[in-house]
Amino acid sequence: MAVRVNPKLIDELEYFGAQDVIKCYHCGNCSATCTHSDEVFVFPRRSMRYLQMGLKTKLETSIEPWLCYYCGQCSEQCPLGAEPGESMMSLRRWLISRYDFTGISRKFFKSTKLELLFVILIALLAGIGFLFYGFGHGDIHVYDGANAFLPSHFIHAFDLWLAAAMFLFLGMNIFRMWYFIMIKSGGVHIPWWLYIKKFYLLPWHFFTQKRYAECESKIKSKVFMPWLVHLGLMLGYVIMLVLVMIFLHRLQSGPEIDWSVHALAYLATVGLLIGTIYMVKGRIKKEQVQYQKSQGSDWIFLVLLMIIVVTGVFQHICHRLGMEMIANITYVIHLMAVVPWLLRMPFTKWAHMLYRPLAMYFAGIRKNALVLEKEGAPISQPIRQAA
């Protein structure tokens, strides 16, 4: 198949953050220094080459950007300051926009203002909606039980609808991701049973983020904080999501604390709080390479998360202390942040939470398929025998 060249691709990627790709002279230092780069998936230099040449199809169907966790070693060692790490980050943003068939994602990445406008608009709509419902059906002085301002059964139903909308978009994006990586890229025949054989990779990578921890060896600190904090944030988020989606009425009944759910909820809150503070600090201080080039989208993510966590904690405390009106107002603010947060997920970097483990899963399948194709021959052969 002839490869189509898109000379403007490199310019387009600038919107996604890749500024210095053109500087690369292909010494291969980045690929060789990366712990995740292996015999099959050699990166980031190859992706840099595709970018320089404008090989859009090759990039679109590539899995490599998802295998990078941005430890920043490649960018630090780059002799020309071509920022391979940042280019991989930008490629991930670009891929998210490619997986999204609606085109919303692309618009968001290109214009932070638009995204901000969307977030504010949705937040206002949500706020008005909840206030309207609350004043129509309940009393602002009552937090739970009968006559509550925002009763948990209503919020529960609302949450489920929201989740359905979110997963509808996300599902379609994931389908496109699968199509790009597994079908469109071609190259190797993939037997169906490999999908089953390698399925364990999906939960394994989702819950451990093991590969992020592998970046650890590169950094001299004894505890590799980014991995731990990232894992804490992610697990905290997942636990909270499950609790809110399924056990909302138990979370909200009070004033006594239902430890069967709250123990987990508190743990999740700690994870979320530490994660958010760590990331905000990192992006302000800019000491680590991976935090030096934040985009507007990254900040919207962090600020929304911050609002959600703080208001969530605050309304919980107010409720337990009996300040039900303040609790209700905080709760509305909390929901005003939650709704746009969930709705923007399929279109922004946040979606990498699902794309990453999926990519590991697909990568595992492809690798296995390649091994099968070589009829059991190991992939890692020394390419040059000693003469």
């Binding site: 690929s31 060789a32 780069s37 050699v42 020394p382 000693a386 003469a387």
Partner: protein, 605 residues
């Protein structure tokens, strides 16, 4: 001047001329005193320049030449040209006196600015008037640095019959070239080419060789520089010493040899290498027990010396002399590979720099030219285990050579060091020649085989079975007894991890540590990368800003041996030209205002 001129001088005063060093009012006063100048106007608001108003002014005063002076007055020229045309004058007669363009801001800025204005008033280009005059020249020449460049330049001048002082910092001349095994691409024995030249220098009646010497101060003018050289004492009488080696055999101290770049040891009394010129032993005071204990301990060498050549009481000596020309040929330092942690140089014993390998593979090196790996040996005196080369050590089965170490890297030296590709290919050849069973890998980014016969040499190396991998290796780590080298083969887009026994780092070249001191002392410029600046890149590659001071060899920029020798010979020609003609071009910045003014006036008439 055929037609009587009426000249108007307009001086733009923006308050920032030469950061306030230029006194525009003084320049205006001076301009008024120049012949035919009718009026001098200072202006500071360029926006108010109205060509029509100016034209009126010109017409009324009957001006037929306008001089616009200022920091960069070319900016205002269009307004004045139009005004001149409106006034019916010749637009060609609008002259520019640009302070910035003519280097005002150096010495005596106001005087220089006055000279620039004067030239414009006389209608003579500044460059034509401000030509430094000829000054008488002392026929003696100082050559700083005794590498191949210094040797070549010294021999050319001395052979022509003129006196040369050759100052070398170390105990022998020869420089880096003397350490090399072979030269590329001809694979000549470096020592076989260089040592006859070294001997010629040592025996030449016109060359006064000063080793272990350091230029302390240079004053004076082109053609007559007063030089102070500090000669450190070697504590051995060169005339008496016959280089019998009895002293070194007796010496109990053992320290890393500078000539062998630390891969072998020497004594505290030593000769840098057997063919050293001058062929005299030297006592290294910093490591000598006798010197350090102020004569209380040791002294074994003194007792052994049959010729009674060792005199511990000799002192450093400051010599002063005058020369007409100075040739700077101080060469280079190699990049410190420790700065690139990923190659583990200094951590893994068998990661070597290029100079270390040159010594290892050299027949006069510690293993007699055998390529072997380092092994651990117990040092009986210090009771510690050390990694050393020994003739009996095993030979490497695989050798990797990494190009561009410290070069073409923004974090270190951004420039290409120019010689590394070729000497690395030479290493590839030497490995395959001496160890036909060993594999040899070259990791390169771009192959810079730029010279005559170099590309052919590259092809030859490939034929000889050296594996050339495009892609710089990223790391070298321990792998059992061996080492693992990881890199990307860019052409095949694969990662390769190879176990090797020896890694050679093709370290780049950089300016010497004392280049800055030397530049300040001589009053010459350096480029951003640290190399000495030539006067003009294309046509004056050997001259510097200062008359009578020349650069030769790598100290001006990375180059290989043929280019270095060619440049050294070119410098010698320049020096000989000044000696034979009996005069030398002075320095431009030494010209006085009166000099320039008079010359401009004489040209104008």
């Amino acid at each position: 001047m055929s037609i009587q001129k009426k000249i108007g001088v307009y001086i733009y005063e923006n308050g920032k001329e030469g950061k306030g060093i230029i006194d525009c009012r003084a320049i205006a006063e001076y301009a008024k005193g120049l012949p035919q100048v009718d009026r001098v106007t200072l202006f500071s608001e360029p926006k108010k320049l109205n060509p029509l108003v100016l034209a009126d002014e010109f017409k009324k005063a009957g001006l037929n030449r306008i001089v616009i002076a200022g920091e960069s007055p070319g900016y205002f020229k269009p307004a004045f040209t139009r005004a001149m045309a409106e006034a019916g004058g010749d637009p060609e007669e609008v002259r520019i006196a640009s302070f910035r363009e003519h280097g005002v801001g150096l010495e005596g800025p106001t005087d220089r600015a006055k000279a620039v204005v004067a030239c414009a008033v006389f209608g003579i280009p500044f460059g034509l008037a401000a030509v430094p005059g000829k000054v008488p020249v002392n026929p003696a020449t100082l050559v700083i640095g005794g590498g191949v460049a210094g040797i070549q330049a010294a021999l050319e001048i001395a052979d022509a019959g003129y006196k040369v002082y050759l100052v070398e910092r170390l105990g022998t001349i020869g420089g880096h070239m003397a350490m090399f095994d072979k030269t590329f691409p001809t694979l000549d024995c470096a020592a076989c080419i260089l040592t006859p030249k070294m001997v010629a220098v040592g025996q030449h009646p016109n060359i006064e060789l000063m080793v272990l010497a350091d230029v302390q101060d240079v004053t004076g003018r082109p053609g007559a520089y007063q030089v102070k050289v500090l000669k450190y004492t070697g504590r051995v009488d060169a005339k008496a010493c016959v280089a019998c080696n009895a002293c070194a055999e007796a010496c109990p101290v053992s320290v890393p040899s500078e000539f062998d770049v630390g891969i072998a040891n020497r004594k505290a009394i030593y000769i840098p290498f057997p063919q050293a010129v001058p062929n005299t032993y030297i006592i290294d005071g910093a490591n000598c027990t006798y010197v350090q204990s102020e004569g209380k301990k040791c002294g074994a060498c003194m007792k052994k010396c049959a010729k009674d050549a060792i005199h511990f009481d000799t002192k450093d000596e400051l010599v002063e002399f005058e020369v007409g020309n100075i040739i700077v040929a101080t060469g280079y330092d190699t990049f410190d590979a420790r700065r690139l942690e990923r190659y583990n140089y200094g951590v893994l014993p068998n990661v070597l720099t290029s100079l270390e390998f040159e010594r290892l593979t050299n027949a006069s090196g510690p293993t007699g030219g055998k390529i072997v790996v380092k092994t651990k040996k117990l040092n009986k005196r210090t009771k510690t285990e050390e990694w050393v080369f020994d003739q009996e050590n095993p030979k490497p089965k695989a050798v990797a050579i990494i190009h561009c170490v410290g070069s073409r890297d923004q974090n270190f030296n951004p420039y290409c060091s120019r010689v590394c590709c070729m000497y690395s290919l030479k290493f590839g050849h030497l490995v395959r020649e001496k160890l036909p069973d060993a594999a040899c890998y070259e990791y390169y980014i771009d192959m810079r085989a730029f010279g005559k016969g170099y590309e052919e040499f590259f092809e030859r190396i490939k034929d000889e079975g050296v594996h050339v991998v495009r892609g710089r290796s990223a790391k070298v780590v321990a792998h059992g007894d061996r080492m693992m080298i990881r890199g990307e083969d860019i052409i095949h887009e694969t990662l390769i991890e190879l176990p090797v026994d020896m890694v050679l780092l093709a370290v780049g070249l950089q300016a010497t540590a004392d280049a800055e001191r030397l530049a300040n002392m001589l009053g010459i410029e350096r480029v951003q990368d640290g190399w000495f600046s030539e006067l003009e890149y294309n046509v004056e590659p050997t001259s510097t800003e200062r008359g009578g001071i020349f650069v030769a060899g790598v100290c001006q920029g990375p180059k290989d041996i043929p280019d270095t020798v060619a440049q050294a010979a070119a410098v010698a020609a320049k020096v000989l030209k000044s000696i034979v003609s009996g005069s030398i071009q002075g320095s431009r910045h030494r010209l006085t205002l009166l000099d320039i003014e008079q010359r401009a006036m004489s040209l104008a008439v």
